[in-house]
């Protein structure tokens, strides 16, 4: 049985709060670039941009990153991940880049994302926003904005569903081996 951790409304409230936190910390939206990590982070970045626009009247420019080519575990995986779209339409030089992902776990994805980001320019600073922090970090990486901290066991799975993919927005936790 999988257990619901966040409902649609809770996800929405968490994102609203994170949008406010991002604006407060960066004193407005002017220098912000929101960069979502494929796939979930891309949807969340777009939603955060919408909320920031609702608060400040300006939407920060969006980008998306696929980190497959920067992974450190390609040879550990069965088969190869399909490479998804990377799209960085505006310069990140001298800007505050807020990386957005759905779940932070070991931190290795974020390490890869930072390497990828550096190939596109030299941001003034990089911050990290995640919907779920499930612990078990293997690298010294910490999120700046967190929707919800959830203690998990290593073998458990956190599943995030998105309306953008035709499902109901929700986050669930299930044990390893459960359907």
């Amino acid at each position: 049985m999988s257990k619901e951790i966040l409902s649609r409304d809770e996800i929405n409230r968490a994102l609203t709060r994170m949008a406010h936190e991002i604006l407060e910390r960066n004193r407005g939206a002017e220098n912000i670039r929101l960069v979502g990590i494929q796939r979930g982070g891309v949807y969340l970045a777009a939603r955060l941009a919408g909320k920031i626009c609702g608060i400040e009247g300006v939407a920060p420019p969006l980008g998306s990153l696929d980190i497959t080519l920067y992974r450190d575990d390609l040879k550990l995986k069965k088969g190869l991940p399909t490479i998804k779209k990377t799209d960085m339409p505006v310069s990140i030089d001298g800007k505050c880049v807020v990386l957005v992902d759905d779940v932070i776990f070991t931190g290795r994805t974020i390490r890869a994302a930072m390497d990828a980001l550096m190939d596109f320019g030299r941001p003034a600073l990089i911050q990290l926003a995640v919907l779920i922090d499930r612990g078990h970090r293997e690298l010294p990486i910490k999120a700046d904005y967190v929707g919800k901290n959830i203690p998990t066991a290593r073998g458990e799975n956190v599943k995030v569903q998105f309306a953008e993919e035709g499902e109901d927005d929700r986050v669930t936790l299930k044990r390893e081996g459960e359907p």
Binding site: D66, T68, L69, Y70, R71, L74, K75, L76, K77, K78, G79, L80, P81, T82, I83, K84, K85, T86, D87, D115, D119, F120, G121
Partner: protein, 311 residues
């Protein structure tokens, strides 16, 4: 699709690939095309892997393309140019490639004047073998980059009318393209003098044969000119170069017979004034340099997908 299906250990020919394999390579190549448009055109994906380019025949663009593709993926690349006047014996060849393996080669790219050499090697070494052209047999990455270029320009492949003009019989580019286009539901018109078109080839899927260029070009979406292999001009396949040029050169007058938005392709190197006129080769519908640029993305995709099979 979250996971790419493994390609297998080697890329020996289009004949051995399934339709979905081809489409997957083209999709993956699109991702690498984006990498090549960045300021920093290099990714760390295949760090620590080694590629050996083993070319037993002259080549500039294919060898450079593989070399650069490997480097853009952070591989270590070694080029071995072998100038040999006599035929290399199978035994010697195997020993050469086993030496490459002893150096730690993960991928060996081979071009050879004899058909089947890459296949022979692939069965005898652990490294992945990529066929960069074997005799009159195949040149799979050229066909893949041609398809990639066509799809980028036309937005689709199925149902397109493609005229391939020239020395079909001795062209590994044509062979690989015929296999690939057949698998993807494209309509192939092979155009050339009877001496340069293999008998019975019209029985392959999607293939029609034309001997008059005007007939073959009418209504085509893509015109692919093959290089006249001048090194063969003493043989009896056609009387003189100038007669061939008169009958089969692609000039603007002939190109006007194809569709208004038809594109022109050529695997290079081109012979200006023999199979293609300069105004067409340098014109707006010429994809010749796009093909070269796209070849890099396609070869990166092949290296990436083969490395997955080796993991």
């Amino acid at each position: 699709m979250d996971n790419a299906a493994p390609l297998g250990k080697d890329l020996l020919g289009i004949k051995e690939l399934k339709r979905d394999d081809i489409l997957q390579i083209l999709e993956t190549a699109s991702a690498f095309k984006e990498v090549l448009e960045r300021d920093i055109k290099k990714v760390p994906t295949l760090r620590g892997k080694t590629m050996v380019n083993l070319f037993f025949e002259p080549s500039t663009r294919t060898r450079m393309s593989f070399e650069l593709a490997g480097k853009r993926l952070s591989m270590d690349v070694i080029n071995v140019s072998i100038q040999l006047s006599s035929v290399v014996k199978g035994e010697t060849l195997l020993d050469t490639i086993r030496t490459m393996e002893a150096y730690g080669a993960d991928i060996v790219v081979i071009r050879h004047s004899s058909s089947g050499v890459p296949h022979l090697l692939a069965g005898n070494v652990n490294a992945s073998v990529i066929n960069a052209g074997d005799g009159f047999n195949e040149h799979p990455t050229q066909a893949l980059l041609d398809l990639f270029t066509i799809r980028r320009m036309k937005g689709r492949l199925e149902g397109l009318e493609v005229a391939i003009v020239g020395d079909i019989a001795h062209s590994r580019v044509a062979r690989s393209n015929i296999y690939a286009m057949g698998k993807l539901g494209m309509n192939i018109r092979l155009v050339g003098p009877p001496t340069l078109i293999p008998a019975g080839i019209e029985t392959l899927p999607g293939v029609k044969v034309f001997h008059r260029m005007e007939d073959g070009l009418a209504g085509a979406d893509v015109v692919m000119q093959l290089r006249v292999q001048k090194e063969r001009q003493d043989s009896w396949f056609f009387p003189t170069i100038s007669e061939y040029a008169k009958l089969y050169i692609l000039n603007s007058k002939r190109l006007a017979l194809a569709k208004d938005d038809a594109i022109v392709m050529h695997p290079g190197p081109i012979n200006r004034g023999i199979e293609i006129s300069s105004d067409v080769a340098d014109g707006t519908r010429s994809m010749i340099l796009d093909q070269v640029a796209n070849g890099l993305a396609v070869r990166m995709a092949v290296l990436y997908l083969l490395s997955g099979a080796r993991a």
